[in-house]
């Protein structure tokens, strides 16, 4: 029992770390740090970096929470800790 709880927590941390890595990459990476090189690419009338900063990152944030809910639901069931 104890062991599986530890494992559940470790897996939870891993899911979190991956999702937060995407979160940071899209907002700080694509939206801010890499904005200038990305702005050379155009998405219709949007410079790509500008688009990530003012639009794309927000869509990705919504998707991230959705994915998190799905993955955690599965994990909760797998380790029998759901309600």
């Amino acid at each position: 029992m104890e062991k599986s709880r530890e494992e559940y927590w470790r897996k939870n941390l891993r899911i979190m770390a991956w999702l937060l890595a995407v979160w940071a990459f899209v907002s700080y990476g694509l939206g801010i740090i890499l904005v200038n090189p990305l702005n050379h690419i155009h998405l219709g009338g949007f410079p790509l970096g500008f688009w990530f900063a003012q639009q794309g990152s927000i869509y990705v944030f919504v998707l991230l929470i959705l994915v998190y809910c799905k993955l955690m639901r599965k994990l909760d069931r797998e380790y029998d800790v759901d309600e």
């Binding site: 709880r5 907002s27 801010i32 904005v35 219709g44 009338g45 410079p47 869509y59 309600e83």
Partner: protein, 596 residues
Amino acid sequence: MGILGWTYVFVGITFALYIFVAWKSRVSDTKGFYVAGMGVPPVANGMATAADWMSAASFISMAGLISFLGYPGAYYLMGWTGGYVLLALLLAPYLRKFGKYTVPDFVGDRYYSTAARLVAAACTIFVSYTYVCGQMRGVGVVFSRFLEVDINTGVIIGMCIVFIYAALGGMKGITWTQVCQYCVLITAYLIPAIAISMKVTGVPIPQIGFGSTIGAGPDTGKYLLDTLNVIAKDLGFVQYTATFATVNTNMLNVLCITFALMVGTAGLPHVIIRFYTVPGVRQARASAGWALLFIAILYTTAPAVAAFARYNMINTLEDKPYVERPQWYTNWQKPGLVAWVDKNGDGIIQYRPGPAFVGRPNFQVKDGKRVLGKYGQPLLNNKVTKNANELYVDRDIMVLASPEIGGLSAWVVGLVAAGGLAAALSTAAGLLLAVSSSISHDFYYRVINPQATEKQRVLVARIFIGLAIVLAGYFGIYPPAFVAQVVAFAFGLAASSIFPVILLGIFSKKATREGAITGMICGILFTGIYIIQTKFMGVGNWFLGITPEGIGTIGMIINLAVTLIVSSFTKAPPQEIQELVESVRIPRGSSEATDH
């Protein structure tokens, strides 16, 4: 029916709706009053959270801010949405499992310390209160602009409405009115946005429209953003999509501000307590997702509105004779949101960088009427600046005037007024509940009178929400001069005190009472002193050139570091606390934890 008539109709209907909903969901026990009986479905909680979070500033001011900032406006957009990812992944599910009433509840129990509880309660009250003042003012402003009543009367009407539904229904009443308010505000935001997008680009979806080509006028066929860049360049402004162009928008500062706003958002007590209201851990995760989805609808529309409004404004005013000004200009000159000084005496409006004159417009008045100049423009008392700019534009006009700029009928203006009020009232109510529950639960019940009965506790909560509303109204009528500056404070403090202490409380079993208290105090002191120095004492941005808006990032790092270091030198938390942390990490049993 005219604009005023329609505004009365919409505001009247929505207010009646809020009071009806509040009456239907009145409560009599503390669980109902503080956390809505923990029975709110995730979708409803998502909507309520969205309305709770999106304030008068989001609704009225944000698009305007972005419109003048261009690319760097992204730190508001990413900062105020990215925080929900942190909330969903790092805080909401665990706090829901913990399952109590307030943020200080968690801090006090996890760090087995009344002192920690009191520090957290003081932060909660301070952070929430700085926010409330702005909201009450916002209510007054909307009333005075749209309904032509005195600002103070507007504030008092707003106070009465909030009092009725907050004192009656507590969290439950607030939740269900917020659900209605979300629907009102999002409709009011989207209709003019879609209309303007259609008008400028012919594309009905604003999010796509502002990356499309212009559909009419001299710039037909060119991309909107490219055109904005060309216009900006011609007039001497920083280009709309230009990055890191000024000292305060260098890359480090944009990074710090974005991060501070994200962490600050995740640490705002009135947002966090919303996640106590759902039935379980799974619903807490889901409602964070719903909340962000509902927020994203407005937050992805805002930058589009910003671009359209900037294009429209410059296109209809710049280099045009004052006598041919559009109707919306005349309408919004009345309350002083736009003004023009004819510096070169040519009767033509020149819009250039820099302020046209010092301060907000102060019109010359004689015999109760505005004194008019050669071209019929009201003259100003303000000291004129040396630059070539002749036009004063308040950023709020970008949203407030958008229905008129978009050529929409009068009822849409009424709807926008109701939307602005919904945004301000829903946020004010959520904040006031956070304040009153911190006082009545954390101070009164947990520290002063632990023997209080259920009935006494609800009564005390109602009394304090009443007092909090009166005080907020007072600050709305007599705003402290520094209201705009203190918003940086609210986020800085939430980022440097509340967020790290909860985070470590969940993810580190070793964080101790001593660590948490010293960490919070160091974080608050550093952030607070820096903001006071730079905002009020004229000291330069001495820490790596970071502006006060972004300093919460450093405050948070200091808090985390100090807490971890001090914790490693002090006695580990007692066994039952370590078990509490263990149990918070497992979803099962969240409904049992609610009875206490």
